[in-house]
């Protein structure tokens, strides 16, 4: 029992520390591409600290939904994080069928994010909410197609089983399928976390935003929870992808942890590079981009079936 509490706490702490760092690495890579030194890697922590000490401002139009959303989003992401193994073979709260719990948490966070945006009665937040809902439909389709393939290869319905200790073994007999899954998941990572080429996290143009416009009315501590939640989500997607693409384990926990952290850093650099070398897609092309993710996932499934 005590062991489990310790596991959960250390896991949670790791998530809370790594998530802002991940964002910091991306910002630094983008700055380097633009010929600048860039902010400190710790800058996201400073931003969050500043916001956590500020009060929120609420519009008279909003209701409890708007106030509840930041906490619900943040809590859902933390709950989700307990299912994702971070450099260890098994997540603290792993159980059979936990990918459905993962879906539920993602859905809950999104539901509150979207209703909070609609709650403001602000036309642009409504537009952002509609875009988010539409792209999520396509993104989740691809995401779960990938999970089905992984479940097939791992013979289990737990995320820890799919990407945990056995994942490296799958490369030997199902390499092509895993390659397609990894490519598809990377697209989903970019889309779900509103990175370029789907959304531009640094834009100030309210008409083009997706995620940013939905949190436009949140301020102070509420905004801090929203931003922290988004950072955790990004980290978790990377943490799901990294064990899949690094196909070996040493069996020594500290070394495996080091490999995992290296992989996550590499993923942050990769996201930063993608954001630096290409422009954003036009909004009406995003659906094609997400459909590519689905098609990749679908072929991964076929290839996976054939390899069985």
């Amino acid at each position: 029992m005590l062991m489990m509490v310790f596991d959960v706490c250390s896991h949670g702490l790791l998530v809370l520390v790594l998530a802002p760092l991940f964002v910091g690495v991306i910002a630094r890579v983008k700055a380097r591409f633009a010929g600048r030194t860039g902010p400190s890697l710790l800058q996201p922590f400073f931003d969050l600290r500043r916001l956590f000490f500020k009060n929120s401002v609420y519009s008279r139009t909003t209701t409890w939904v708007f106030r509840a959303a930041p906490l619900v989003v943040f809590a859902a992401m933390l709950a989700l994080s307990l299912l994702v193994p971070l450099g260890i073979s098994r997540a603290p709260a792993a159980f059979t069928g936990d990918i459905l719990w993962l879906a539920a948490m993602l859905g809950l966070a999104r539901f509150f994010m979207i209703t909070a945006a609609l709650d403001t009665g602000f036309s642009m937040e409504g537009m952002g909410a509609s875009r988010e809902a539409f792209f999520a439909c396509l993104g989740e389709l691809a995401l779960f197609m990938n999970f089905i393939t992984l479940a097939l290869l791992a013979h289990g319905f737990s995320l820890s089983g799919m990407i945990g200790v056995d994942a490296p073994l799958s490369w030997e007999h199902a390499g092509p399928a895993l390659l397609l899954v990894a490519a598809s998941l990377f697209i989903v990572l970019l889309a779900e976390n509103c990175r370029i080429p789907v959304d531009d996290p640094d834009t100030h143009l309210e008409l083009t935003m997706i995620h940013e416009v939905m949190i436009l009315e949140h301020s102070g501590i509420d905004l801090a929870y929203m931003l922290y939640g988004a950072a955790v989500k990004l980290l978790l997607f990377a943490a799901i992808l990294v064990p899949l693409v690094i196909p070996f384990r040493t069996g020594y926990p500290p070394v495996d942890m080091g490999i995992f952290l290296g992989g996550v850093t590499g993923m942050a650099v990769l996201v930063g590079v993608v954001e630096s070398v290409m422009a954003r897609l036009r909004l009406n092309r995003v659906r094609n981009f997400l459909l590519i993710a689905f098609v990749l996932a679908f072929f991964a499934f076929i290839v996976g079936l054939w390899r069985m």
Binding site: K30, F33, A34, G35, R36, S123, M124, G126, M127, I196, P197, D200, D202, T203, H204, L205, E206, L207, T208, L216, E275, S276, V277, M278, A279, R280, L281, R282, L283, N284, R285
Partner: protein, 503 residues
């Protein structure tokens, strides 16, 4: 009567037609080769309103000026905008400034929400007491699936204030109405009776990023009215400064367009290069926007030979960098996918709305004051016209890139061979009872200033027209049927001035 750029005429010689004749002549000319360069009102001593029309004939480099007089008690006339779309903003401006009624105007809303200059009953009651954008209705599209999006006047970025009202069906824009006026400072009344030194100072504040364009136009009006010919060296220095201003802004625009597509490297590089051009102006004038350079009678600062050499050396380096970075921007498929086919302004629409500047040239209209109405240095050094045909964001970006390169070539050619001589001659007093016109190709397009002097030789009416005055409506038109998420990019490709419009 016919005038050339920088020309002047006695007010008595400006033909005064009957209102009907005036209307027919404007419409005839604009349906033919001409276009409406300016249409403005002035109050006469007896309280009546005199309307002046300035028609530009680009091919002949001539400006035709004529006028009509409207009675003091109930000034009204049949609207030109009914048959000539490019007059619509001018007529709204006249109605607002002089309480004149344009009968049958299709969309008679105030432009800037100020009380009129005549002190007569306004056609919009209580206008100056309304909080802008006031209670006047926006054009609305009906239907359950149509939604309205209002943006501004306070924006998420640090830009000027303006209100944009979109009528959307999903992501598609059915109609966009732009309501400005938040930056109205009353520049034109401030220039009435102004001392010319203070006037030059005020003209630099009409639009901060076009300080050189507007101050050049102001100085040319004063010099024309005073009958003063400035030394060739002063003309050359003004041209150099104007091209530096164009370079700084075009480069900044290209960078900002990169930023709006989410392509960061070019936005950072172009942003730094914009700073280089501003630093040239800083070295020349002590101000990054070139304020304090142009004064009636010439320029205040000279370019010493050592400075010219230094500029040339640095400009060559700038040209290499500009070519490299624009190659990076224009060769990215993901950037081109955002630029091409977005915000298309057809040549017909551009012509109909009297669009000017790079926006017009991107729609294949051959309009450039430096070529059509060459004056000063442009008479000796010709800059090739930069045009593009597609009228989309890509075309506007391409025109800006091409113009920047040609400006660099111009500077590299002119700087080593600046004419010898002085840079300033005292302009002397302005002649009484005259009208003078000046056209300058600012970086956004055609800037037009017109000055009218009273019988003491001071300005009784000063009219300013920034290119944005024409082009804001083109932006609204270019967005029709487009995606609302493409608006910021399209807006940046026009990059119009709010304060230049609001005066």
């Amino acid at each position: 009567m016919e005038l050339f750029n920088g020309g002047r005429a006695s007010l008595k010689n400006v033909p005064e037609l009957l209102a009907g004749e005036f209307r027919a002549r404007v419409i005839d000319a604009c349906n033919g080769e001409g276009r409406l360069v300016n249409l403005f009102g002035d109050r006469l001593d007896d309280g009546s309103v005199r309307l002046y029309a300035v028609i530009g004939f680009d091919e002949e480099a001539s400006l035709e000026v004529f006028s009509t007089r409207l009675p003091a008690d109930s000034p009204r006339y049949e609207s030109l905008a009914k048959d000539l779309v490019q007059a619509h903003a001018f007529e709204r401006e006249i109605a607002e400034q002089w309480a004149v009624v344009p009968d049958g105007h299709p969309w008679p809303k105030p432009l800037r929400y100020h009380s009129n200059y005549r002190g007569a009953a306004d056609i919009w009651p209580d206008i100056s007491r309304q909080v802008i954008p006031g209670v006047y209705p926006f054009y609305a599209v009906g239907g359950d699936e149509v939604h309205e999006v209002g943006v501004g006047p306070v924006h998420a970025g640090i830009i000027e204030p303006g209100h944009f009202r979109f009528q959307c069906h999903g992501e598609e824009i059915l109609h966009l109405e732009i309501q400005l006026g938040y930056q109205h400072r009353g520049i034109e009344p401030m220039l009435r009776g102004v001392d010319v030194q203070r006037g030059a100072f005020l003209s630099e504040a009409i639009a901060g990023d076009t300080a050189l364009g507007h101050s050049t136009a102001f100085c040319e009006v004063v010099e024309s009215l005073a009958g003063c010919v400035i030394p060739p060296r002063a003309q050359a220095i003004r041209a150099v400064a104007l091209e530096l201003e164009r370079l700084a802004n075009h480069t900044g625009d290209l960078g900002a367009m990169g930023m709006d597509t989410g392509f960061l490297p070019t936005s950072a590089y172009f942003g730094r290069m914009r700073g280089d051009y501003l630093n040239f102006l800083l070295a020349l004038t002590g101000n990054r926007f070139g304020k304090g350079l142009c004064r009636p009678g010439g320029v205040v600062f000279d370019i010493e030979p050592a400075m010219a050499d230094d500029f040339c050396r640095k400009l060559k380096q700038c040209r290499r960098e500009f070519e490299d970075v624009s190659e990076l921007l224009f060769s990215r498929p993901s950037v081109l996918a955002r630029f091409e086919g977005v915000g298309v302004l057809s040549m017909d629409d551009a012509k109909k709305f009297g669009v000017v500047g790079p926006a017009a040239r991107a729609s294949h209209l051959e309009r450039d004051v430096r070529i059509n109405y060459a004056s000063g240095m442009w008479q000796f050094h010709h800059i090739p016209l930069s045009v593009s045909a597609t009228g989309d964001v890509h075309a506007r970006a391409l025109v800006k890139k091409q113009e920047a390169l040609r400006s660099l070539d111009f500077l590299l050619k002119v700087l080593p061979t600046l004419p010898k001589g002085g840079i300033f001659v005292p302009p002397g007093p302005m002649q009484p009872g005259m009208l003078a016109l000046s056209l300058v190709e600012g970086w956004r397009g055609e800037i037009m200033h017109a000055g009218i002097t009273d019988d003491r030789g001071v300005f009784t009416r000063y009219k300013v027209k920034d290119p944005s005055f024409h082009n804001w409506h083109a932006l609204a038109l270019a967005m029709r049927g487009g995606e609302i998420s493409d608006f910021p990019l399209c807006n940046k490709s026009f990059n119009l001035s709010y304060c230049g419009h609001d005066l």
